[in-house]
């Protein structure tokens, strides 16, 4: 049995939240991945979650306690323009309120990939800033790979509610 550390918990919590949003809004057959290259091996529509820079801010003088602000990139790879706009609006509407942070236990057996065993709610990810923009390569869409034709990027800066001593 092993415990994921904070960054991986944030990624996995975000993936779980997006999966829930998609299920609640009847979006079926959308894969949510965290490996960018993997997106190009599966069909659209799909969503890719990545974490970027993390800032650790000291919360007060006289203590080493910090609170982290992490940048989360949500790449949407849609099959068409309309689907892209609907999908990103669905995610934006739900994610802007923040979401729960979970700590995940995984178990790994010799020669096998880690499997999620259990999770426990241990805080919340609150939104500090939120931007969204289309991904435009300035290349005619017909010349692009099918995955790159209808893309949207949501960039979230989220604050983890727990203070790290």
């Amino acid at each position: 049995m092993a415990l994921y550390r904070i960054s991986r918990n944030i990624e996995k919590s975000t993936i779980d939240r997006i999966n829930t949003i998609l299920a609640e809004n009847n979006w079926l057959g959308i894969a949510v991945e965290k490996t960018f290259a993997r997106i190009y091996e599966i069909s659209c529509p799909s969503v890719c979650i990545r974490t970027g820079e993390t800032a650790h801010k000291f919360i007060e003088v006289g203590t080493d306690a910090t609170q982290r602000e992490v940048q989360i990139f949500i790449d949407i790879f849609a099959s068409n323009e309309g689907q892209m706009l609907d999908l990103k609006d669905t995610l934006v509407e739900c994610l802007k309120h923040g979401w729960d942070y979970f700590e995940y236990n995984v178990k790994r057996e010799a020669g096998q990939d880690a499997v999620y065993d259990s999770k426990a709610r241990c805080g919340r990810l609150g939104i500090v800033s939120f931007t969204e923009a289309p991904v435009n390569f300035n290349i005619p869409k017909s010349d692009l790979d099918i995955h790159d034709r209808h893309r949207w990027l949501i960039t979230i800066t989220a604050k983890y509610s727990k203070v790290e001593e």
């Binding site: 970027g52 820079e53 790449d75 390569f137 692009l144 995955h147 790159d148 893309r151 960039t155």
Partner: protein
């Protein structure tokens, strides 16, 4: 971003000195805003440089096309100061599209176009030269299969500018 300055009851003659104070404060304000821009330029170029996949850019060699520049060289800080309006921007979109059109693919990642999409895109790989792709003979078609990993240098720099501006404007809040 706009700032509103309100002058309350003042004694005779006090207004002139206060206007002088405000004028010098505006200059100081501009210097601080410009400083954030310069730091953003360093940050953006630093992200790109730290994530170079090859030590030598194909455009550094003598056979390089003059119409192409390295992305780091194309990104420049443009400052606009008309007296009333002071602003800066990082990277001129027209120049980027002209000299470094790969800026978008490096920022957002993706699968680069192949010879199928651009019939003139033919060339050769030189494994001994750091795996560089050079246009020219013997003209093999190129079919990339591995996507370019996104650097998101724009979004990361934007976040840095946001936090720097917040910290700076907090100094003016009561």
């Amino acid at each position: 971003m706009k700032f509103k300055v309100t002058l309350k009851e003042r004694k005779r003659g006090q207004l002139k000195s206060e206007i002088r104070f405000i004028t010098s404060s505006i200059q100081e304000f501009k210097i601080n805003i410009l400083d954030i821009g310069q730091k953003a330029e360093v940050k953006m170029k630093g992200i790109i440089d730290a994530n170079r996949q090859r030590p030598v850019s194909p455009h550094d060699d003598t056979n390089a096309r003059a119409s192409r520049k390295s992305l780091i060289d194309t990104i420049k800080l443009d400052v606009f100061d008309s007296g009333d309006i002071f602003s800066w921007g990082l990277g001129n979109i027209s120049e980027l599209n002209q000299y470094s059109p790969h800026w978008a693919m490096i920022n957002w990642g993706g699968l680069p176009p192949s010879t199928k999409d651009y019939p003139t895109l033919r060339g050769k790989f030189e494994p001994d030269g750091g795996g560089l792709f050079r246009k020219g003979k013997p003209y093999f078609p190129i079919y990339p299969t591995k996507p370019i990993r996104p650097l998101n240098y724009i979004e990361t720099t934007t976040n840095m500018v946001r936090t720097s501006l917040e910290a700076f404007t907090n100094l003016f809040r009561r």
